[in-house]
Symmetry: C2
Subunit: 523 residues, 2 copies
């Protein structure tokens, strides 16, 4: 068990350990932050539906798989499914699944596993009561207060990955925080994956965009880890998200992704994108039935590919604005779906992925309340892998530099909330209360003096100055503070060290694949 | 049992019932909102400390009461305490409490009771799993985007009470949302209490600021309810908050408040203001020990005054910025204290009061995240009475018109989150999923068409338009939207109907008390 998997350290350890831990983690020492640590949710998740109601959703989704089935566009995948007992008719893409078969298959999915990073101190555990935060992924645009909103570039991609690397609360950098559209699609994945190896030493994600890209992702990740393939397939290190084409459809790249990733022992998180009223029934319960059916089908398929392949159960059910069709996030319906999703994932004993999302167009009060409502759903829902944990804005169409910093602060606050309360004799402080006595003050007491430096979480954004002082300093709002912070922090980025042999192997692979023209494209 | 206490209606009832319920509730029909209803928290509160740890806090607070004691400045209160077996020495203000005596006394506190409003449809239940939202109270300043921050006036007081009355999610108007400093203190309470009777028909609060004001509050509330005193003392209708002078001190107006309110069967919520590191130990556990000691002392005293007097257990433990001493709210430490406070209140079977608070100076992302973190603590902590639920800004120094609207939206979202999920056969939607089939769309289906109007909560503030449309409309932030909303809504305020005989009795009482000069003041 590595250092990162030790029992959670309290954030009050940060000053004592900060310097060394910070350096070891490859992060800057220019700012104070809690150390990288494996978070855990110490309390029971909240149950919003009863066991009977949960069973009704479960049984309904099995009926959907059995009676309606799923259209699987990938011929080889259909062949594998048929081989495992699914009902596949010649000349049809429709696949129907026997309930016992589905349940038998998903029973092989591991309930907990380690996701390995290039730096073992950045390994994380998925499943159980473990909590992992992953940076925002897949935004086509990025924005900041200085330059406004724009399509993503390699420069923005790199900046955002750097911010992910240097902040300990971000455990996994995730997919592309912004799509670098200035890179040609044939080599974009190569450039981005190489950056994931060089600019960070945390675990990362590869998109399932066809066989070549999958295999490139697996090879680059293996090179980064510096281990032979026999070892790599035993150690989940790379993850991919499979968003089904809701309703009830799975396309060729998805199936290809599961085949490549699962056969190599890498992590597949199946996340149906079931927007109630659009790609799923307008009732949250109905959308959850569909989410569950699609997730179970994908997870069962991964187990057909390789029994025991590491998988995640992804929930992304939300509602739409019924006037415009626009997706909504961080809503009460989203929260309820998050909680039921967690109940379902725990019923199957599979790590649960959910997300920190919002629909706001600006880093204003809306962005903050939608995000904290989402985080409330993540934590009380018993989420294990929180996707889009930092940076998401505008329904995922934009990664905001300021929102990244705001979210880092929110995540750090959540981590502190989850840190068990010290109720030792000393913390109960009867002697301090006696010493101060009625009408006294605790500021100057030895009990306070010994603890005040690390007694409380020190926020990044929150401005606690009184109104007068705050006004005199120009009445800065939270987003303005965040703008200043990301520039200061980025200036202190340091690339994490890497073994020169790994660097050389990576360069050689890049050279070879670029010479070959990268991955095929339609254009 | 009145209509308001019926099992919770779902918000999807709003269109079907809206008009009539709206009129009955005296609120405007110019905007759509969920009906006034008794909220309940349908799931188990979150336990952040174990039963053993909770017991350690409990026992430590009993030790504080037994060994250290509390300074009680009110001679008559000390006499009552001595009579009930407390250790009171002649010539000393210090009172020490035997643990068995405290536990015996608090066992008489009712675990649940109805708070009666002038309009019985606005009665609410306190305790159990009932949830009640009360408007912000006691801000010296108010603010809005148009006029900035300023000391409160009667005009602002009235505007804010009107906003409280017309929004169904605000169950109790609470104390003065802003202090009307343009009214002389001798008659300020008379003016405000009369406004509470006339401008709203919801339950309200009276400050414990001396015998005369307490008795005026009780009499005005009784007149408003239109019931004889024999009935009034059996029906809790008025509430007061007793904030102890932490650490371990209770002053004369507090004790006077408990004596008057409890002897008249009205509600006393004892809320120590235990800021960790200032008026309480720097450790959250220590601050909770002190909170619990002070709360139990106040509640025990109320039971000495009248066995079975309705009381609330108030928690207000938070931390301070150790650099400046400024109080912080909505922090991880605040949330943990909220949750433990709920565990303690439930241990004693006493309704739990906690608050929706923030330290932000502007209605920005900080205000929103601190508030939603607070609400998270309120709900997962099993709060029964949520004080300062709408309008609080700047650590309580300001009531913001825009924050009032923002909070109303947040509270409505919380209420929707708490509405049980419909998992009926119909909601599970297997037939709709079958009809749409793989690759289809749910927008136009009969299942969607029959439900889309009320399927989801319709937010007040959230802007779900896409970036382009939003930008073209001037890129309004949440606070700007809230600014527009409060003005529109206030323009539609209608005074709730009142029995002319009650109005006459109220006018006569006002006339008499003003002629007498109101309450004595020092200036």
């Amino acid at each position: 068990m590595s250092a990162a998997l030790d029992p959670a350290e309290t954030t009050t350890d940060r000053v004592r350990r900060g310097g060394r831990a910070g350096k070891r983690a490859g992060s800057s020492t220019a700012f104070e932050q809690p150390p990288f640590r494996q978070l855990r949710i110490p309390f029971e998740p909240t149950r919003v539906v009863s066991d009977d109601e949960l069973e009704a959703i479960h049984l309904a989704s099995l009926r959907v798989l059995r009676e309606i089935g799923i259209d699987v566009l990938h011929a080889e995948a259909r062949r594998i499914m048929k081989e495992h007992g699914a009902d596949v008719q010649e000349g049809s893409e429709r696949v129907r699944f026997d309930s016992d078969m589905v349940l038998e298959l998903i029973s092989h999915a591991p309930s907990e596993f380690t996701l390995h990073a290039r730096n073992p101190a950045h390994n994380v555990r998925l499943g159980g009561n473990n909590l992992v935060f992953s940076q925002v992924a897949s935004a086509p645009n990025c924005s900041d207060l200085d330059r406004g909103r724009r399509a993503g570039s390699q420069s923005d991609f790199r900046n955002l990955v750097k911010l992910g690397q240097m902040h300990n609360i971000i455990h996994v950098t995730g997919g592309y925080p912004v799509e670098p559209v200035d890179l040609h699609p044939s080599i974009r994945h190569l450039e981005c994956l190489r950056d994931f190896v060089l600019l960070t030493d945390k675990a990362f994600h590869a998109y399932s965009l066809g066989r070549e890209r999958n295999l490139d992702g697996i090879e680059i990740c293996r090179i980064g880890r510096g281990v032979p393939m026999e070892q790599f397939v035993q150690e989940p290190s790379l993850l991919t998200i499979i968003n089904t084409n809701s309703p009830l459809k799975m396309d060729i790249p998805m199936m290809e992704g599961i085949i490549q990733m699962s056969s190599h022992g890498q992590v597949v998180i199946v996340t149906p994108f079931t927007l109630a009223g659009a790609m799923a029934p307008v009732t949250v319960a109905g959308a959850l039935v569909q989410q569950n059916a699609e997730a179970l089908a994908g997870i069962a398929f991964a187990q057909m590919v390789k029994k025991g392949a590491p998988v995640g159960y992804g929930g992304f059910t939300s509602n739409v604005d019924m006037k415009s069709g626009a997706p909504a996030f961080g809503t009460p319906e989203y929260m309820k779906a998050q909680l039921v999703g967690g109940q379902l994932a725990r019923r199957y004993g599979i790590p649960y992925r959910t997300s920190n999302v919002c629909a706001a167009n600006a880093v204003d009060a809306q962005a903050a309340y939608e995000s904290v409502f989402s985080l409330w759903g993540c934590i009380q829902g018993g989420g294990n892998f929180i996707k889009h944990a930092a940076g998401w804005l505008e329904g995922g169409l934009t990664c905001s530099y300021e929102k990244t910093i705001l979210d880092i602060d929110l995540l750090q606050m959540v981590a502190e909330f989850l840190t068990p309360l010290d109720v030792s004799e000393d913390a109960l402080a009867i002697d301090a209360i006696r010493d101060v006595g009625p009408g006294g003050h605790f500021f100057g007491t030895p009990h306070t003096q010994a603890r005040y430096k690390n007694a409380f979480y020190a926020p990044i954004i929150s401005d606690w100055r009184n109104f007068e002082t705050w006004s005199e300093s120009g009445a800065p709002t939270a987003v303005e503070k965040a703008n200043r912070v990301w520039k200061e922090r980025l200036a202190h980025y340091e690339e994490p060290p890497i073994d020169p042999a790994i660097r050389e192997e990576l360069d050689a692979f890049m050279e070879k694949r670029k010479t070959e023209g990268g991955a095929p494209t339609d254009f």
